[in-house]
Symmetry: C2
DNA sequence: CATGATTTTGAGAGTTACTTTCATTTCATG
DNA sequence: CATGAAATGAAAGTAACTCTCAAAATCATG
């Protein structure tokens, strides 16, 4: 069926093989659960896939599934790109306009994710579009990203990260980005996500009512 | 305990007493369920409140509760301001700048809601802030509002409501507005929500990186 | 007002995500 | 290999939702 790529995460265990057997096993289990979930969801759809089936295919008990992921949605969505993003944002030159920095970082993040596992990027977007529960969880995780965004934005512009202005700016960006993903899925993944994101950032840079070509 | 205001909804039944007994009873049941839920949630918190308790206090069966509201979160959140908002937006003069129209309409909506039932406005914001499930549903409902927003924005600016640009603009606004509500609840409802909203719209009008006082 | 059609309700059983508890197994370490 | 710590599985429990069906309330008629 589908090629079972290992989906090397940003903190790939293979980079530091000096991990105890226990740790390595945990990582394997985690990925087994995720792989089983992706496969089943592709075969039967999200709602039709039960935790029991996932557990069975991943060869663990249902209890273990919940030990690794708090909710079913998390199995599909969890990743850890956020810290990387913050780091990248901070690494951009101080005097670069904020929105340019953001453009660079987003492009980089999307490129990376696309190259690591293009299927997963699409599957997530599609599930986010189709399944309300996933969309919700998706939004929650983007809200966390929003917290990073406001920290970075505050640092860059010398404002208080907890001020209404900064918080609203960050979440407006998040809202816009979320919509890009929905749009992409809704239109059958037509075009490069990277380009759509770029257009979205252009729009948001100048406010919603500005003239766009 | 708390005064059990009837919370006259925008389409108040009392305005048209010419409804069959059946219809009137349905509206009563609906409001009984909501009132019971609000009361219980205030007493015990959201999670501790079960559908069974709600049903008992509203003097209906649990099945009936689910017949009136698809999910527990909906009992707290459902309202029907959206169509009104669209109407108001359309009623604004054609040549008024879009963001000014939005400011007017939002102010009006918030004033209305505050005057109809200030408690509910606060309770919702607070639950949205504290309870992830509610926040999710809150966001979903704002997404629907976003669809209206993009229609109105498209009409006003002569663009395609399904274009990426319009959709992103609308959802960015929604994201920003959502954050206003969170901010308000998080800071103990300090200040007028109306004023916070105004400030948020100012921010979003000019883009996230613009200088604000 | 009686009667039959239609709508609404409640009772009950079933599904599934998630929780909690506890005994058993698996690994790490001296 | 022995001992302690961590990970697992089995099992029972909770609560949100779904489905089905029969009883009850309302409505539209003659």
């Amino acid at each position: 069926m589908t090629r079972m790529t290992a989906a090397r995460s940003p903190y790939d265990p293979a980079d530091r093989p000096r991990l105890g057997l226990r740790e390595r096993k945990k990582i394997k289990t985690r990925e087994a659960i995720r792989a089983a979930t992706y496969a089943l969801v592709r075969e039967q759809g999200y709602d039709a896939t039960t935790i029991e089936q996932i557990a069975e295919r991943a060869e663990v008990s249902p209890s273990t599934v919940f030990r690794y992921f708090p909710t079913k949605e998390d199995i599909v969505l969890t990743d850890e790109y956020d810290p990387l993003m913050l780091e990248e944002l901070r690494a951009r030159p101080e005097d670069e306009p904020w929105m340019d920095s953001l453009r660079h970082v987003m492009r980089k993040a999307l490129d990376l994710s696309e190259q690591e596992d293009p299927e997963v990027l699409r599957l997530r977007a599609q599930l986010g579009y189709q399944v309300p529960a996933i969309r919700s969880r998706y939004f929650e995780s983007m809200t966390e990203t929003g917290r990073l965004l406001r920290r970075a934005l505050a640092e860059r512009t010398g404002r208080d990260p907890e001020s209404l202005e900064v918080r609203v700016s960050a979440m407006a960006l998040i809202g816009g980005m979320m919509e890009v993903s929905m749009y992409w899925a809704e239109n059958g993944f037509e075009g490069e996500l990277r380009d759509l994101m770029e257009r979205a950032l252009d729009v948001m840079e100048h406010g919603p009512a500005a003239e766009n070509p």
